[in-house]
Amino acid sequence: MTAAVQGSEAPLLDVRAVSKRFGGVEALKGVSMQLRAGEVVALAGDNGAGKSTLIKTISGVYQADGGEIRLGGEVVHFATPQAARSHGIETIYQDLSLADNLSIGANIFLGREPMRKAFGFLPVLDRAKMAEAARETMARLDFHVNRMTAPVGNFSGGQRQAVAIGRAIYWNAQVLIMDEPTAALGVPEQRKVVALIQNLKAQGRGVIFISHNLQDIFAVSDRIVVLRRGSLAGERKIAETNPDEIVKLMVGG
């Protein structure tokens, strides 16, 4: 139903009846969801509802036991998170996975640093290129920093969140999965992150956003997918629902 309303374009990410079991526990029982370009989908549910398992299955940490995942219309199987990343699916974990002692540029390029030749023969890190990419990327997120050489540990929580997002979009992530991006932040910083997500949406990327904070969910999402005990409990467009209904779906009242 939602597909018809959202338009004729094929979804960016199409999760079809995915199931996943760990031993005797069925963590996902045939969950389906879709994500379009420029759309923010919130993934809600109580602890143990299967939110983490679902995103880890999408991002290649786990492999689905049943069902299929389509990316841009094609069926994909990711053996590792690296494989998913190379297809443009990037996960931003709650701990952000930043090296706090390195600069923004060094974090963006961590593991794939650009090199240049000094004196025509000696390979050295291309710090100028890293700083330039960092400046451009952060500007795209409407985030301006003076000292590009400062370690990211010096920045605030919301700014570090922006660095983690910047790293994902520099590598051209089309699907961003954000795990509780506002959980550890103060109120002004939460607002900054909400603005970042709106920015990503405007750039035509798809965002899956896990949160316990209904206020944030209603501030930024287009749709909410609610999971309960490994199954799809319901799916609502933000404009057509309210927090009470979502809570009822979550707890099964």
Binding site: A99, N101, G111, L122, N146, G153, N154, F155, P188
Partner: protein, 345 residues
């Protein structure tokens, strides 16, 4: 609170600027220690003996020679400590390398040209040192043994092996090239100091300009972050301990050349001096920070204290107290620095 959010785009406040100046000073504390020491020793030398401490080529040669072995061990340790690990086995790996280099150089010198015998001896010493380094790496990266325990075990293994190979005594070498390497001078500068200086440049390049160095810092900051960035943390750790062993090996063969003899116990007092050099040099034992030139300054601080107190006729036991106090000050500075930079904005 909202002022906080806009501050990022405006110029930093004077308070913030003075704080960052403090942090910068803290980062180069080893060079500050060194300057202060030199000023104190210079004044002391003039008052007590009416001569200069600093304007003496002889003093600097002696300090340089004394600093070589601890510095070489400390260079490898700088990498290991930045990655958040520790290598306690390097003292006896150094002794092992000294004994092997002495044995091989001496035995081959009987049949081969002396220069060739020395080269093979040096290579053998460093190569043998790489073996315990490799095993350390295997224990820590693959078998998940904590670095402190794994390398403590290797400390004992290398120690026993070195004494067994040496037959419980020192192994003398009579090889004129070996003696030249250890005691010769080029333009007045001891050869081993030149070798150490070239090696310092190589290690500085490796740490500050290559992916290997960058990944070492990243692993020290967060293994999880490094893993998620696609860095092969296990293989990297393996290489770090191999490098540490090889550095200790180079320290050992140069030490053997200096005394034209290999002694198993050579590195025993040098282990702690080398770790002290890294810490005084600004590396944090929690991992994630440190530089090669900081470590060089740290090694010089220790060598200047040790040589300077002898020069000034101070009872030699004061050395331990002086080095100990500087280590404690250095760690206190490191903690303050962490607290300051931990206060975000």
């Amino acid at each position: 609170m909202s002022a906080n959010m806009t501050m990022q785009s405006s110029a930093p406040s004077p308070e913030l600027r003075s704080k960052s100046l403090l942090l910068r000073l803290a980062a180069m504390r080893a060079w500050l220690f060194l300057s202060m020491l030199l000023i104190v020793f210079e004044a002391w030398a003039w008052i007590s003996a009416g001569q200069s401490f600093v304007y003496s080529a002889w003093n600097w040669q002696s300090i340089g020679i004394a600093a070589v072995a601890p510095l070489l061990l400390a260079l490898g340790s700088t990498f290991v400590i930045i990655s958040g690990g520790i290598d306690l086995s390097i003292g006896f790996i150094m002794g092992l390398a000294a004994v092997v280099a002495a044995h091989v150089t001496q035995k081959l010198g009987l049949s081969l040209p002396l220069f060739l015998a020395m080269v093979v001896g040096l290579v053998a010493g460093v190569a043998v040192a790489a073996i315990p380094g490799f095993i350390n790496g295997l224990l820590i990266s693959k078998l998940r043994v904590p670095p402190f325990i794994g390398t403590l075990g290797m400390f004992g293994v290398a120690r026993g092996t070195a004494f067994l190979l040496a037959g419980g005594t020192t192994v003398p070498v009579s090889n004129s090239w070996f003696a030249w390497l250890g005691n010769g001078r080029f333009l007045g500068v001891p050869i081993i100091v030149i070798v150490a200086a070239l090696f310092v440049l190589l290690m500085h390049y490796l740490l500050s300009q290559t992916r290997f160095g960058q990944h070492t810092y990243a692993i020290g900051a967060s293994q999880q972050a490094a893993l998620r960035s696609g860095i092969d943390v296990s293989w990297h750790t393996q290489k770090l301990y191999l490098l540490s062993g090889a550095c200790a090996g180079l320290g050992g063969v140069l030490y053997a050349a200096r005394f034209t003899a290999g002694a198993a116990q050579a590195g025993e007092p040098i282990l702690l001096d080398s770790i002290a050099a890294v810490v005084i040099g600004g590396a944090s034992l929690f991992g994630g920070s440190g530089t090669i030139f900081g470590t060089v300054a740290g090694a010089l601080v220790i060598a200047v204290i040790q040589y300077g107190l002898v020069f000034l006729n101070v009872e030699s036991f004061w050395q331990f107290i002086a080095v100990g106090v500087i280590i404690i000050i250095s760690v206190l500075v490191d903690q303050t620095q962490r607290r300051l930079s931990g206060e975000r904005q």
